[in-house]
Amino acid sequence: MLKRKKRNEAIENALADMARHKGGGSEFIQRMLRNKTGMIGTCICFVLIILCAGAPIFTKWDPYEQSLASKFILPNMEHIMGTDDFGRDLWCRLLYGGRYSLLIALGSAVISTVAGLVLGSCAGYFGGKTDLIITRFLDIIQAIPGLLLAIAISSALGSGPFNTMLAIAIGNIAGGARIMRSTVLSIRGNEFVEAAKATGSRDARIIFVHILPNTIAPLAINASMGIGGSIGAISGLSFIGLGVQPPTPEWGSILAVGKTYIRDFWPIVLFPALFIALTIFGFNLFGDALRDALDPKMRD
């Protein structure tokens, strides 16, 4: 009996030591690495970012240089994705264009998520008048169709990548804020929030330490979905001449221009669409993996 107890104790202590050596940060990375679909998503995002950031290394062409002699060339060894209506290399334009598309999409996702997080958590946590004012404000934003709002904002601010980013971000705030608000409301009802109050925590500490970490899951999903939507919105703005202006390469605007030639020349539509789809796919998988890795309940 005793012997067995001692043995059990030794095993337990060893297990405890093992557990202690697993630090927080490395544990997170390990869990990210173990998630297969998540890794695929992370790789896609990573490769896309590297390709776009290092565009000059991966292509010898210039995204702006026109050559009417070589327009509408089908993919070959020289132009792996063919050329567009001005004879510019499509692969090159897509890589350079990704710099704008990804930056604007990521940037607007970050801005709208942060703004939504602040507004939503304040509304959800403080309730009462704060909630009323913030939700009415969100109602106003949501009453205007997203693209229309983006059009209004970017025509007021003028075109250009940064303004486009801002315009799209503002339109996306309401959705994120609402998700945030309802999540915070449900978490606020838990007794551990009351427990934090009972142990003397002030509001800021309760929000940042106890509530926000528990809202990551819906927020991560919302943000990763938002990236896809943003790319669509950018192209929409570009199409009506408000977003990124030609000849600046941008996935949406390339796609928008290409639409005219869809019957006669498929690469100009297929490849930008493929890049956009890959990005959305990659970020969604990445968002899911992020949520799982941050959730201690998924720990095995």
Binding site: F192, A195, A198, P296
Partner: protein, 319 residues
């Protein structure tokens, strides 16, 4: 043994769409240091609200709370935060009362961090000390709450409440969510801690056998009002209020030789929203008289230390 807490005519009303909800309506009592006041009642009787108002976690509507000789009824926010060091709460649900994203050691250390007490190493050793105190093996320090069972989770809740070394703890149904054998472990733990640290408890529960076991005094609540309060043993030996009688006779007893005449109370709890000015128990009381419908009965000390709120208490009990 001095008086630690005195509550006078405490009221807490909530605004609801249907009108004022009288969650706590004129409750008065006092607790001596090192003793336990059991608060019993059925769901919705305001017992949990009472615990939270006494702790100043929510503000009272009216009344007075005197703690350690000091009136804490209208203290400032800063004073309230300071008060947390001496008043704590243990929650009912060991699942929702622990932040799922924090490890056990972080959960227990959280109050210490809030008050910036100790440095990191000292805090760690304090956490271990608390884990030993509540009988939680140190190997769980890096576990997350969902990896532990209800009993162990409740021990975390106890450790967290003890971390600031309080002298007064409100236990809000701390064992209701646990299995009987685990329930007994936690009850013993609470009693041991009380003895070792001279703690004072308010023990809120619906379980009468638990409350009898752990309390010095018992206060019975019915829809926001207190109907009876006396020494624990006396309440079980000689309950005076008809509601208490019904409540006691409703408990199933795990003894087949136990002879009892059962008075099954008919009807259900009436609404606490905008209650009429009558005895709240009148609708279910087997002894109801016209007098009961005319006014709310006042609390009256029938025998020394035994207060009852019932118009007909003397007639019913042949006193």
């Amino acid at each position: 043994m001095g008086e630690l807490l005195r509550v006078e005519h405490l009221k807490k009303y909530f605004k609801t769409p249907g009108g004022m909800l009288h969650a706590v309506d004129d409750v008065s009592f006092s607790i001596n240091k090192g003793e336990t006041l059991g608060v019993v009642g059925e769901s919705g009787c305001g017992k949990s609200t009472l615990g939270r108002v006494v702790l100043k976690l929510i503000d009272q509507t009216d009344g007075k709370i005197i703690y350690n000789g000091k009136d804490i009824t209208n203290i400032s926010k800063n004073e309230n935060v300071e008060l947390r060091k001496s008043m704590q709460i243990i929650f009912q649900d060991p699942y929702s009362s622990l932040n799922p994203r924090k490890k056990v050691s972080e959960l227990i250390a959280d109050p210490l961090k809030t008050f910036r007490m100790y440095n990191k190493e000292e805090r760690q050793s304090r956490v271990y000390e608390l884990m030993d105190m509540v009988g939680l093996s140190r190997r769980f320090a890096d576990s997350y709450p969902h990896e532990l069972d209800g009993g162990r989770r409740q021990r975390i809740g106890v450790a967290r409440a003890l971390s600031l070394d309080p002298e007064f703890i409100v236990c809000d149904e701390p064992v209701s969510a646990l299995d009987v054998s685990i329930q007994a472990q936690i009850l013993n733990l609470l009693q041991d801690l009380q003895e070792a640290r001279n703690l004072t408890y308010i023990f809120v529960t619906h379980d009468l056998s638990v409350v009898r076991h752990i309390s010095t005094d018992i206060l019975v609540m019915y829809i926001g009002v207190m109907v009876e309060k006396c020494r624990a043993k006396e309440l079980f030996k000689a309950p005076l209020h008809p509601y208490t009688k019904g409540l006691l006779s409703a408990i199933p007893v795990a003894n087949i030789d136990h002879e009892k005449k059962r008075v099954v109370l008919q009807g259900e709890l009436t609404s606490p929203i905008e209650p009429k000015n009558e005895c709240r128990f009148a609708a279910r009381c087997p002894y109801v008289t016209p007098k009961c419908r005319e006014a709310m009965p006042e609390l009256e000390e029938i025998t020394p230390g035994h207060v009852v709120a019932c118009h007909n208490v003397r007639e019913i009990n042949g006193l």
